[in-house]
Symmetry: C2
């Protein structure tokens, strides 16, 4: 075990250094990792044997022999990511460089878990076929969805899904259907991990993602590692109290951030307190929340004063939540991601930046920046795929034991099963 | 480097297993750690050579040869812990088993950093002399105090200390005076780490300490490791917003937990809104806050209805903060520690327990318990000493790099300097 750990962690270190460096020599790797030259030579030989790394030419060298240059082979491995929610699903296939090589959108949670999962499996199979990736190069499938999640029994335990869904081992079923290992991931944490593979965040960054979609979610990465706490159900940012005398939330808490700043709250306020409901044709139904909220952010971006005030109120409350995250997790940055921000992303970002500048507790020691993610509507699917890559090639982490991928998996994967 | 890491982490693993087991055989160690028998043999031999572990006899064995039993030698190493605040200081000396072998109380931050630090160094020297511990067995000094702290320049950056203190390298000065390495630690985080060494918490627990003294502080331990975030300035629990429309705090935030539930807030309310100020003789001055607050908790415990209501209000607000901690860090328990709770500790604990039962977001997956620490007024000093032990014998952690102790320090320490 000790040997495995040691090999695993230095192997990850070297792989990450190669990924970060793009094209690097063994000497540069030794400098970047602090490992001895002999260790680098041995580890790189193993990575070349596994097909993960290739030699791509020679670099000039002052005096000595020319140095052979190394690169990650992006086509050596792939990962699939699925984002499944009530309103739809996204699937992406990424290569080892974290590039999306194929994508597909479709239906969300259906009434029958089995039908939905068979459909997802078929779409994944089609996607893999469409790009001609050898199935044995696919590391696995990341499945991003709502929290809370039970990563041991591999069930989604959110109130957003019904009892039949809550009772389904979604990973087990999908594994059976596809022949690939499947890991469940919180949607917002997936987005946070995705930032490590999209180039949005450097490999040892400490930051939170504030994810705005149908609600407000959070994901924290500390020193390049996903923060998982006890059961990978942390950073429920939408359900922290920012008004202790506020209304009771279905979660049991009072004055939750989501009930003050989330899309539901903003749409309800627009309909109840203003004439925006009629003017924008808001319906306020569960199914139309995303559309309704988008109409409000669009109206605000187009100069509607009332819509702008509603969004500013939401942005100030989210900024309050961001400061809480920064003061508790001691972050270096807060990243805003998710489709909810829409065209008002700059307003939210400025509100968060202002609040962090003004009230981050340890601001005498370091700043906390607020940035807007460049991620798209497929951010959760991409992040779920990134979680697979991270679990195979990221830093060692005790919490990774939760992920059903062997850390140092054999190269040959179970053959991709024909779906019956 | 890889070799050192591997040795270090398996060595820590074995040391922790011996500490947890009390008296253990090599076979039990192999079972407990998952390490191969040969590795256990090699590591144990090293620990015996270093004097950390001793063989203490033979155990019965079914069939095979009797197994030799191992124990940690508590007297093999010691750590000093200092708690320095405005109102006083505590010093403790602990052995490797985490037992306090000597203690001393004295003055707090004085106007001259140099005078205060010389006095601390003298008291530490006296304490070491008094118990006859060979100075070379003292691993170092943990200095617990207010956050924020700059662990790189090793300065206390809290507004509670003046510019001269903020500009003083307290660790460097104390190192010079004592000849021992010194590490700065946040008071509340020290208390949290202390729970790992007092037997309050098992070695891989995930929990937060809510520390109540002059204000409200927090410390989080995840899987047995201190949570440090970017700069070890996290979990500023007193400065999260629980009333986003509340009063502006000196920290820049609005409606901070400390301004609603902390001793200052309760004492101010008692004087302004009730007749308790006169009846209990509260003065409300900065220097008397601890005494004033103690008078209120005592009155509440003695059945004074108004005092009880004030404390219940404070307890409910702290419970709100505890739920935020649990929902963000995904904790298994919340531990209440610190002198502030006084005789009302059960009321605070019940309020926190009720709130966690009712509103922890992932309560369908696991409970979050609320417990009262058995720690005393020297909890920060003890925890600061525990941080030293943890830094030398705890799990490997990237954040430990912040602590100026070599992870695998030579046995022979610099000789304990005579103070001039």
């Amino acid at each position: 075990m000790a040997g495995t750990d040691e090999r695993g962690s230095t192997r990850s270190l070297v792989l990450r250094a190669i990924r970060a460096g793009g094209t690097v020599s063994r000497t540069e790797l030794a400098d970047a990792t602090g490992l001895a030259g002999a260790s680098i030579t041995r580890i790189v030989r193993g990575l070349i044997d596994e097909g993960l790394v290739t030699e791509v030419g020679l670099a000039e060298s002052r005096g000595g022999t020319p140095r052979r240059l190394l690169e990650l082979d992006p086509a050596a491995r792939y990962a699939a990511g699925v984002h499944l929610d009530r309103h739809g699903s996204h699937i992406v296939l990424t290569d080892l460089a974290g590039r999306v090589v194929a994508r597909d959108d479709g239906a969300g949670f259906g009434p029958s878990p089995m039908e939905t999962l068979v459909s997802l499996a078929e779409r994944i199979a089609d996607l893999v076929d469409s790009v001609g990736v050898p199935p044995e190069r696919i590391l696995g499938i990341g499945l991003g969805s709502y929290g809370p999640q039970d990563r041991r029994t591999r069930r989604i335990r959110s109130g957003y899904v019904d009892a039949e869904w809550q009772g389904t081992d979604v990973c087990g079923v999908l594994e059976h259907l596809t022949g690939l290992p499947v890991a469940l991931e919180n949607d917002a944490l997936a987005v946070a991990v995705g930032e490590l593979w999209s180039g949005g965040m450097p490999p040892t960054a400490t930051y939170a993602v504030v994810y705005l979609a149908g609600g407000i979610g959070g994901g924290v990465v500390v020193g390049g590692r996903a923060y998982r706490g006890s059961s990978s159900n942390g950073v429920e940012l939408g359900h922290i109290t920012i008004d202790h005398a506020g209304a009771l939330c279905t979660c049991g808490n009072r004055g939750c951030l989501d009930n003050i700043a989330g899309p539901h709250a903003v749409v309800e306020r627009a309909i109840a307190d203003t004439d925006l409901g009629e003017r924008l044709g808001l319906t306020g139904t569960e199914a139309s929340i995303a559309t309704d909220f988008r109409l409000i952010t669009d109206a605000a971006a187009d100069g509607n004063r009332i819509a702008h005030e509603l969004i500013e109120h939401s942005a100030r409350a989210i900024a309050t939540g961001a400061v809480t995250l920064a003061n508790l997790f001691d972050l270096d940055s807060v990243v805003l991601a998710g489709p909810g921000y829409g065209r008002m992303l700059p307003v939210y970002r400025d509100a968060v930046a202002d609040a962090l500048d003004r009230s981050f507790f340890a601001r005498a020691l370091h700043v906390v920046t607020a940035t807007a993610s460049t991620s798209t509507t497929e951010a959760v699917a991409f992040g779920a795929a990134a979680s697979v890559l991270e679990s195979a090639f990221g830093p060692d982490d005790a919490a990774d034991a939760l992920v059903p991928f062997p850390r140092h998996r054999p190269i040959t994967r179970p053959a991709y099963q024909e779906l019956t």
